[in-house]
């Protein structure tokens, strides 16, 4: 996209390259475009008459950008049809979380039951008086040491009286 500009002082014609068309105006009935020159700063932008120019693509691009700027496009309706997301939410009581969902640290297991169909532990949580049931499957993964302590505390050995008597006799 070039434009030839002949300077009066110089014999040769110099070529300057148009980088972009920035604006349009009509002066005394003639159309002029504001041009950004390649290799020059914005301070060097100049208005040039339409007939001097040979950059139809750049002009078309500019006109197109102007067209969509004020023709047809309509911004958001902003219609709050009640479908919008709530801006504030109240937390209701039935949201109460149980078990591990409470985000508390397991302190120790204080009981076990399988009457619900699956093995459940009664968990005492750190910093809370409220114990509740958690599935053993979940506890085994999330706090295995706590589970192991629970089982260890309750290990029983079955004794055989004859063996013990023998031992006692020896003593």
């Amino acid at each position: 996209y070039k434009k030839k500009k002949s300077k009066k002082e110089e014999e040769e014609e110099e070529e300057y390259v148009v980088e972009k068309v920035l604006n349009r105006r009509v002066v005394k009935g003639k159309v002029e475009y504001l041009l950004k020159w390649k290799g020059f700063s914005n301070e060097d932008n100049t208005w040039e008459p339409e007939e001097n120019l040979d950059c139809p693509d750049l002009i078309a691009e500019y006109l197109q950008s102007q067209k969509t700027a004020h023709e047809g496009k309509r911004k958001g309706s902003g219609d709050a049809d009640g479908d919008e997301s709530k801006s504030k939410k109240k937390k209701d009581d039935n949201e109460k979380l149980r078990g591990f969902a409470r985000g508390l640290e397991p302190e120790r297991i204080i009981g076990a039951t399988d009457s619900t169909g699956e093995l459940m532990f009664l968990m005492k949580w750190r910093n809370s008086d409220e114990a509740d049931l958690v599935p053993a499957k979940e506890a085994n993964v999330k706090c295995p040491q706590v589970v192991i302590s629970f089982y260890e505390e309750r290990l029983t050995w079955h004794s055989y009286p004859s063996e013990d008597e023998k031992k006692d006799d020896k003593n």
């Binding site: 919008e84 504030k88 937390k91 979380l97 149980r98 619900t116 004794s159 006692d168």
Partner: protein
């Protein structure tokens, strides 16, 4: 040694070394009772979805949460007590009052001067149970009107809540997320105060593959409130900070997360073209178009709104949506059973029709004309209004041939029927469309044919009636139109008015009129 003692002795060497058997037995009984109690409660909860009372001396259940009946005087006394136990009890009672389904006493709690106590509890890191109750109470107060939220902020809750985001207890930091969401949602002023207090990095720190879904839901909602509201828009730097993780959330499939993530994007695209540009550059458009087809209405709606905003941007922005397949989704949405969806889809269509003729061509190719005509005929009024804009934009930017196709699809007939509406603005838009059609007809030398077609379709009659319209602009516009295009030469010149001949074909020898 007797066998009995030997057994006892041996046992004491192992598991219960050094413990008194009588005490142990007592302990076992207590644990059994607790177990049974917990099981019973579990069963009740499953059957009736009731909450467990957790006050230490209260028996198991309160079946009806609405009869929660604490006296504010008692709460005040407890909360101002020196012991943590009393404070926790009082704070929890307040929390339960504030969580009631109907008419929670937000104002009474605030007027009782309890907010400053709650805010001080927020920073007691050694008492997480108390922190949690306080955070929940503050959340619910902040969920009220602007006045309520203002009280919360003015009592200094914001810094304390932001600190709580770093709590090692997940349920506590989550509660802080929620409370902050309520504050941000109040409006741009508080939103920007939170942003200035560096809330965004503290929130983003919680996004990880291990974060529970429930937590992410609250987080996404709070982030969306930080994107929300105009006058002013959120600062560009804040948007840039939270965009990448927000985009990450779109990979998930939880409908609540997707819903709020889409709302966030819809807020961010509701503005000038440079704001839209930032969003389009993230590459999120294809995913948004995909979510326009989501089975859940709560996801579809904000996705459609976001895309609608994007196509109100530049031609380039619009092209991105077309390339992502939006024109394949729109026909379905134009026929959606919900009127609001039809309306929003038609609005989006109207903005696509305001693009350049290549995009208009894509509209035609992807079969958007039939559903457009359907909504022109059968849509509810708000949808019809958007459809009329679509027609006008189409006729303005389309080539003459494209306008012919539009007319052939039945759109002209449909808008003529809409000339009877009361809304003057709509009438003017329709008249503009018809004017544009005449401009296209001029290029093809077929203006007379168009005039005759309009007359055939009952349009001339309607336009003539509009000359009596109370609105000056309408009256002027119709007058101009009749003068320009319907001034028939009354000297009995025969007009060839074969039906269906108005196909804008270049014809010879039929031009007998002069304008």
């Amino acid at each position: 040694m007797p066998t009995k003692n030997a057994a006892d002795e041996r046992i004491s060497k192992f598991k219960n070394k050094g413990k008194d058997p009588a005490k142990l037995r007592e302990k076992r009984i207590t644990e059994c009772v607790e177990l049974r109690k917990a099981q019973k409660n579990e069963c009740f909860l499953k059957r009736r979805n009731i909450t467990l009372s957790s006050l230490p001396d209260e028996e198991a259940l309160s079946p009806d949460t609405d009869t929660v009946d604490f006296r504010i005087e008692d709460i005040i006394a407890d909360v101002n007590d020196g012991s943590v136990e009393a404070q926790t009890r009082g704070c929890q009672a307040a929390r339960k009052l504030l969580s009631k389904g109907r008419d929670p006493p937000l104002k009474e709690i605030v007027d009782a001067g309890l907010l400053s106590r709650f805010v001080s509890f927020l920073s007691m890191d050694d008492e997480p149970a108390l922190q949690f109750e306080a955070a929940w109470a503050v959340t619910n107060i902040a969920s009220g009107t602007s006045w309520h939220t203002q009280q919360v902020v003015e009592h200094g809750a914001v810094p304390a809540l932001i600190k709580l985001l770093a709590s090692p207890m997940l349920h506590i930091s989550e509660q802080a997320v929620w409370a902050l969401g309520n504050i941000a949602g109040d409006g741009p002023a508080y939103r920007d105060i939170l942003i200035e207090c560096n809330v965004i990095p503290a929130l983003l720190a919680h996004i990880s593959p291990d974060t529970p879904v429930g937590y992410l839901r609250n987080l996404t909602w709070t982030l969306s409130n930080l994107c929300r509201n105009k006058n002013p828009y959120p600062p560009v730097s804040a948007v840039q900070q939270l965009l990448p993780p927000l985009i990450q959330l779109f990979h998930l499939s939880d409908k609540h997360i997707l819903c709020d993530a889409c709302w966030a994007i819809s807020y961010l695209t509701d503005g000038s073209n440079d704001r839209i540009d930032v969003i389009v550059k993230t590459g999120i458009v294809p995913r948004l178009v995909e979510l326009m087809s989501h089975e859940e209405f709560c996801v579809l709606t904000p996705a459609l709104r976001a895309i609608g905003n994007i196509v109100s941007g530049s031609d380039l922005h619009t092209q991105t949506t077309i390339d992502a397949g939006v024109l394949n989704v729109l026909p379905k949405l134009l026929r959606h059973k919900k009127a609001t969806v039809q309306k929003e889809a038609t609005w989006a269509l109207s903005n696509i029709a305001a693009g350049h003729c290549k995009q208009i061509q894509q509209l035609i190719t992807c079969g958007l004309l039939p559903p457009l005509v359907e909504v022109l005929r059968n849509g509810d009024f708000k949808t019809q209004r958007e459809a009329v804009w679509t027609v006008t934009n189409f006729t303005s930017g389309g080539t003459a041939e494209q306008v012919v196709q539009l007319v052939q699809s039945g759109a002209l007939e449909a808008i003529i029927n809409l000339l009877q509406v009361k809304d003057a603005k709509v009438i003017l838009i329709i008249l503009e469309a018809i004017n544009n059609m005449f401009t296209a007809a001029e290029k093809l030398g077929e203006t007379e044919k168009l005039s005759l077609l309009i007359e055939e379709l009952g349009g001339l009659e309607r336009i003539e009636m509009l000359q009596n319209h109370e609105n000056d602009v309408v009256y002027q516009a119709t007058q101009n139109m009749i003068e320009k295009y319907f001034n028939s030469d009354v000297d009995g010149v025969q007009v060839d008015s074969t039906p269906n001949a108005f196909l804008f074909q270049t014809s010879d020898g039929q031009n007998t009129f002069k304008f």
